[in-house]
Symmetry: none
Subunit: 274 residues, 2 copies
């Protein structure tokens, strides 16, 4: 899915300001930090904090893997302790892949996004904490969080890498933001009424559609397709229904008229050019 539009102004400023901080505890590979930064940029987040990155900081592998999300990498803050990394936050979500033996409420990324949004609107500063690549967060780290985020994942194959875990949290955050920002890629509600959107054209008027139908049916009368007469009405209805189902645009109607005119000319031409 390539397709960054460089003419579009980045939303990292506006959303980053209001979005959750992403905190990586004890990250091991630079590649994973970079993938996390890239995922953050994909979803308009920009505040990255690193607790004790194993291979030091800055890290060339992180830059490469960030694929251009430079401002996230440049702005990353390295911390030596959980207290330093989490100290200014009002509310913290800890991500885990499996239930822990800990009495702590659990939310999906989707529910957490709504929760974050409400808290941020109320003036709170929130952050999402991700653990070390292989082992995840330690219980002591989870203890510092208010809430656990657990994504619905196939329990028999639950291993998400760090970049993917950040991706899912960022995605749910942005999805909710996009609704508010009127981004339009999202339909209102789960039911698609009256149908998915069709960019760059207008629906044909009923007059235009009927004009096309009459042209086609007149040709089909001549060709003998709408025969015998007693079956004609149901055949016409059937064919009209097929085309109506595509919700034709004005441009569609013009194209289809051209197709019909051209098809019926084929034998004329053949006759003329023996």
């Amino acid at each position: 899915m390539a397709g960054t539009d460089h003419t579009k102004e980045s939303r990292q400023g506006e959303s980053g300001q209001g979005g959750p901080a992403i905190i990586l505890a004890d990250p091991q590979l630079g590649e994973n930090i970079g993938a996390a930064a890239r995922a953050m940029a994909n979803f308009g987040l920009s505040e990255l904090r690193l607790i004790r990155p194993r291979d030091g900081w800055p890290n060339d592998y992180a830059w490469k893997a960030a694929s251009g999300a430079d401002w996230v990498i440049e702005g990353a803050r390295v911390c030596q302790s959980e207290t330093e990394a989490l100290g200014d936050l009002n509310y913290i979500y800890a991500t885990t892949a499996r239930p822990r033996d800990m009495i702590k409420p659990v939310m999906t990324p989707e529910a957490a996004a709504a929760d974050m949004r409400a808290r941020i609107a109320g003036g709170q500063k929130v952050g999402v904490l991700f653990g070390r690549e292989r082992t995840g967060l330690e219980n002591d780290q989870i203890t510092l969080a208010d809430m656990i985020i657990m994504a619905p994942v196939n329990p028999a194959f639950a291993s998400l890498n760090l970049g993917q875990a950040v991706l899912l949290v960022g995605y749910e955050w942005y999805k909710l933001e996009a609704e508010t920002l009127g981004d339009g890629t999202r339909q209102d509600g789960p039911c698609l009424e009256p149908g998915p959107r069709m960019p760059g054209t207008r629906p044909a008027t009923r007059e235009e559609v009927i004009g096309f139908f009459e042209q086609m049916e007149s040709e089909l009368d001549m060709s003998g397709f709408l025969y015998p007469p007693e079956k004609r009405p149901s055949m016409v209805r059937n064919i009209r229904n097929i085309f109506m189902r595509m919700s034709p645009t004005e441009q569609d109607v013009r194209t289809l008229r051209g197709v019909i005119s051209s098809l019926v000319r084929v034998h004329k031409r053949k006759k003329q050019d023996p």
Copy 2:
């Protein structure tokens, strides 16, 4: 988020059977194929098809990147053409990162998951098509799809890698499955009626649809409609898109083939019936 529970029975059997096929067109790097397979396993999908993988198949890098999703890699089917890869499917979603100049309906991954679920419940076989890493799907490939999936992404940094794109589609699919499988926290059920129901018939397979296209285009070549040659590809795409939008049934395809055959016969008949 480490945390695979090896005591849990994998859901890949039950869900994979019913889930969408994942089709990667012209994938370049084995790592990305592996990441896609891993994401599929995370979300209970198992049917992977590869159209012309650049570096051949099997591919060691893919195995490594799959991180244990061996059954997905082992079951991958390599195809040499779009027709071979898509032929048995009734409904196809194409993923793109930006709007294309193509009149084709667009859905979010979330809405698409609900749509897939309803179609699969109705006996349809569905698939999601992903394009080459840097450039995405070509227009001719998108034309073969019924619907476009576009994830809400920061427009100024929209580049998702292949594994991440598969991850988002799989995640939304599994989220909906997980609700059904009993952890349902969601109150408002998804809309299970994507478009009008078409009683007494079944959606055309892609093979049937392509057969119709080829018949029509061959007639339009003879009639001179698809002229000049340099414009032919875009004209063909445009016409195919118009018909794809109706999600043709098997019966529609037969009717439309009859209409085309009849129209091109029109002048022959005139001569026979004085």
